[in-house]
């Protein structure tokens, strides 16, 4: 069975051009980028070429790109790197309740180490209010971290406005741009952020590589020590095949961006319309227009998410409920809860994230497959939307 992959926010297939580049640097150009000899120098040049490709995609200077093992590392490096470097200046960090766990759990750890964290609430569509940011800033605030787009509901955040406020108070701003890169243009100067995280595997690049953009002049403390790699900010033998692949993926994104944007937006809107037409009571999560081109996230009251996923999977469709990272957990999405959605509804979320290779036929297949699954699960459910969900033990009626 040919599968229909609708989980691009979890990870993407590696583009053949990217995979071939990586393969070449595994088998042929395998030198250590720090070595003096030709094989090492060639690897080193390839890393620098990739750095230009990545920088090029986001309007940065190549010297502002620090390669990491992914965005989780980049997020942790940004937060802890700023916090530890500038502790005398302040101990307060502002973020939002809907960040990725890489941010939220890094903040929890910083809190244990004595930093103070403010986690801003969001509105029903998942957006943070810049006025709330302004109000949260205090003299001890050193960093604001707000994601550019949410990985679950796709809502875009007003990062530019937040940067303006932060500038007035001389506070650094970090943004997790993982989900936006490769779908919408990202320009670090237009945004004005000081730090930004990216991950290759969300944009047809390899897993295990990403980067932190660090605006020139912004000082952070390294979190991994060893060799002189990455301007002393991130030790470890360069993952040359991964980095070269990331570079190729960025070049590819630049080439295809306009097409991707319109292709994904068209598929997305077709999908949302189809779901709303065919599934009674379906609720779109996140902002209807201020959202990622490739993101569809709905709640289907009366149905539990995993049960839906399993049925879809048996029909060859890969989707998710909440983010991939939380799928091992049993808790409802922290993002949906922060948006004010009730637990029993949040448990019934379905995230369909689209990619460059998806077709209208695939969307139509999903739209054909899903309604009977929902009907079947709803019929089996112990409660119906609107009904009481008090399931105290015992006590028949």
């Amino acid at each position: 069975m040919k599968r229909v992959y609708l989980d691009h926010s979890a990870t993407t297939p590696v583009h053949p051009r990217v995979a071939l580049a990586a393969m070449n640097f595994m088998m042929n150009e395998y030198g250590n980028a720090s070595s003096v000899h030709t094989q090492g120098q060639r690897a080193g040049q390839a890393v620098e070429h990739a750095r230009e490709q990545v920088a090029g995609m986001i309007g940065a200077n190549p010297r502002e790109i620090i390669f990491t093992s992914g965005a989780t590392e980049a997020d942790n490096l940004a937060l802890r790197g700023i916090a530890e470097m500038h502790r005398e200046r302040g101990d307060h960090i502002i973020t939002t309740a809907v960040e990725h766990h890489a941010i939220l759990h890094a903040c929890d750890a910083l809190e244990k180490d004595g930093f103070r964290i403010t986690r801003l609430a969001v509105d029903g569509e998942g957006r943070v209010d810049p006025d709330d940011v302004a109000e949260a800033i205090e003299p001890g605030t050193i960093l604001i971290s707000v994601m550019l787009a949410n990985n679950e509901v796709g809502t875009l955040q007003p990062v530019e406005e937040i940067v303006e406020i932060a500038r007035e108070h001389d506070v650094w701003v970090h943004t997790d741009a993982v989900q936006v890169a490769g779908q919408l243009p990202v320009d670090v100067d237009a945004l004005g952020v000081d730090l930004a995280s990216f991950s290759a595997h969300k944009m047809y690049g390899p897993k295990g590589v990403g980067c932190l953009y660090i605006r020139r002049g912004t000082r952070i403390r390294a979190q991994m020590f060893g060799g002189h790699h990455e301007r002393w900010l991130r030790a470890g033998t360069e993952n040359v095949p991964g980095i070269v692949g990331f570079g190729e993926a960025c070049a590819l994104a630049d080439e295809e961006l306009a097409y991707r944007r319109s292709h994904l937006t068209a598929l997305r809107d077709h999908l949302i319309e189809g779901l709303e037409a065919r599934i009674p009571d379906v609720m779109l999560n996140g902002h209807r227009t201020e959202r990622l081109p490739g993101n569809v996230n709905v709640c289907i009251p009366g149905v539990e998410g995993e049960a839906m996923l399993l049925h879809l999977d048996m029909k060859g469709i890969s989707a998710s409920s909440g983010s991939a990272c939380t799928s091992g957990s049993l808790e409802a999405s922290h993002v949906l809860l922060a948006m004010g959605i009730k637990h029993e509804i949040a448990h019934g979320s379905l995230r369909l994230t689209l990619g460059r290779e998806n077709t209208r036929e695939e969307i139509d297949y999903l739209l054909e497959i899903l309604p009977p699954i929902v009907e079947n699960l709803r019929a089996m459910s112990a409660w119906k939307p609107g009904e009481d969900t008090t399931f105290s033990s015992g006590g028949g009626n």
Partner: protein, 128 residues
């Protein structure tokens, strides 16, 4: 993730629905966990003659609900009370660790249904 047995009961669950004139009902779970079950039993001469369930929940919740109704049918109330959540998981060939706690409530639902029956009948054997 799930064993074949779990997937079998998940995809073709047995005894879904309600019993019109049930003798006992058990309801367990809560919306925070995302698993809620309602189980109804029919009792004749201290033996469970029918059991049906409705479940809102994940694959494990549905599969455990299904298999516990199968296990209960034909058993005396005492035998059915002895069915533990652990026994249900074992009958399914095991459950993922993270599903053992929250989603494995079907035996509780059954026990609640039996308790409900006993309450209704004041401990007697007769039907509702």
């Amino acid at each position: 993730m799930y064993t074949d047995k779990v997937m079998e009961h998940f995809t073709s669950p047995k005894n879904v629905g309600e019993i019109e004139d049930f003798d006992g009902e058990g309801r367990v779970g809560n919306p925070v966990c995302g698993d809620m079950m309602a189980m109804q039993i029919k009792v004749e001469d201290n033996v469970i003659t029918d059991a049906k369930f409705r479940t809102f929940g994940c694959g494990a919740a549905i599969a455990t609900s299904s298999i516990v109704t199968e296990m209960a049918k034909g058993k005396t109330l005492e035998e059915a009370e002895a069915i533990s959540n652990k026994a249900v998981a074992e009958a399914l060939g095991g459950l993922p660790t993270n599903k053992m706690h929250c989603s494995n409530l079907a035996a509780d639902a059954l026990h609640n249904a039996i308790a409900d029956y006993r309450e209704r009948t004041g401990g007697d054997d007769g039907g509702a």
